[in-house]
Symmetry: C2
């Protein structure tokens, strides 16, 4: 992926093929536009892969509003990012559990669900996840809006037993949409 320090793909430019723990070390104050040329990536608000997450799939992001889907807490800054190595649009499987620690009722997913309730999930929350294959992003509200959390089969053995493990910015079990990450 390629990042620029000004909107509209202007200004200083830097290309990455691997993770970047902090754009500040390149002399960037923040990323202001970017293009994903191949693969799937996740961007983080802060250095060291901390803060709000934004999934970055192939395409062009001319300004911060292109990667920030969270209107209440816009992720204007993008300071670190890394590839999502295991993303696989065709073979992705996720199990969702009603309660933390993989307890309670469960659901097996291999498709995208902009509304878990429409699929038959009886709650606006998910307690824990197990990612069997591929990579997924789950979101707070239907239609993939609000806070996003990236879940990968090759991180923590695919186990995410409490929202504390979904991301440093996670503060609630509220998840209403889930989808595969496309590479």
């Amino acid at each position: 992926m390629v990042v620029w320090d000004e909107e509209g793909f202007q200004g200083r430019r830097h290309e990455f093929t691997a993770e970047c723990p902090s754009v500040l070390e390149l002399g960037f104050e923040t990323v202001r536009s970017l293009k994903v040329l191949s693969g799937a990536w996740v961007g983080f608000e802060h250095a060291g892969f901390q803060g709000q997450q934004s999934v970055l799939e192939r395409g062009e992001y001319p300004a911060w509003d292109a990667w920030s889907g969270n209107t209440a807490y816009p992720a204007e800054r993008l300071t670190s990012f890394r590839p999502v190595a295991c993303a696989n649009h065709r073979d992705s499987r996720l199990t969702i559990f009603e309660q933390e620690n993989f307890l309670g009722r469960k659901g097996e997913l291999n498709d995208d669900y902009p509304s878990l309730q429409a699929m038959g999930w009886d709650s606006t929350e998910v307690g824990s996840f197990h990612v069997q294959s591929g990579a997924w992003v789950c979101s707070q509200f239907p239609g993939y809006r609000g806070f996003q959390y990236v879940l990968e089969s090759d991180h923590h053995s695919g186990d995410y037993k409490h929202f504390r493990e979904w991301g440093s910015h996670a503060h609630t079990f509220q998840v209403q949409s889930v989808r595969r990450i496309q590479q």
Copy 2:
């Protein structure tokens, strides 16, 4: 669906099973929270189904940021809405065309694509659409961010030949993600 005039499902309440051309006529200034109990709906910023569109699938939307995925132009107001009758998660087919009026190269879709480029589409734009079945939402940026446009097989015979036909707020051919609407 049910709407409230205060956030968090408080205040005055009204339930709908059919379209509402203007909540103002109910004495609401705007909708501030809502729940979709069944079906799929599209909400509009202004009365008479005009202005920015927000797809509303089953679930709970406690405040405006839950339905507004557009961080640069947040759709805080929701003034009219109607059901998306033909939404069908399992049987949805869409053809995208490089140019307006169904000209140029084309792509046949029956799945969700958070990145059209990752699927092999060589552009950040789409010229025109033909919806063969189901209902779709296309978005300006990857990952379903930015402006949204709802496309239905039972509207205009599924034909959308120029961005002028995608919605009253559409002003560009830029479309980088497309997905089925789930009911």
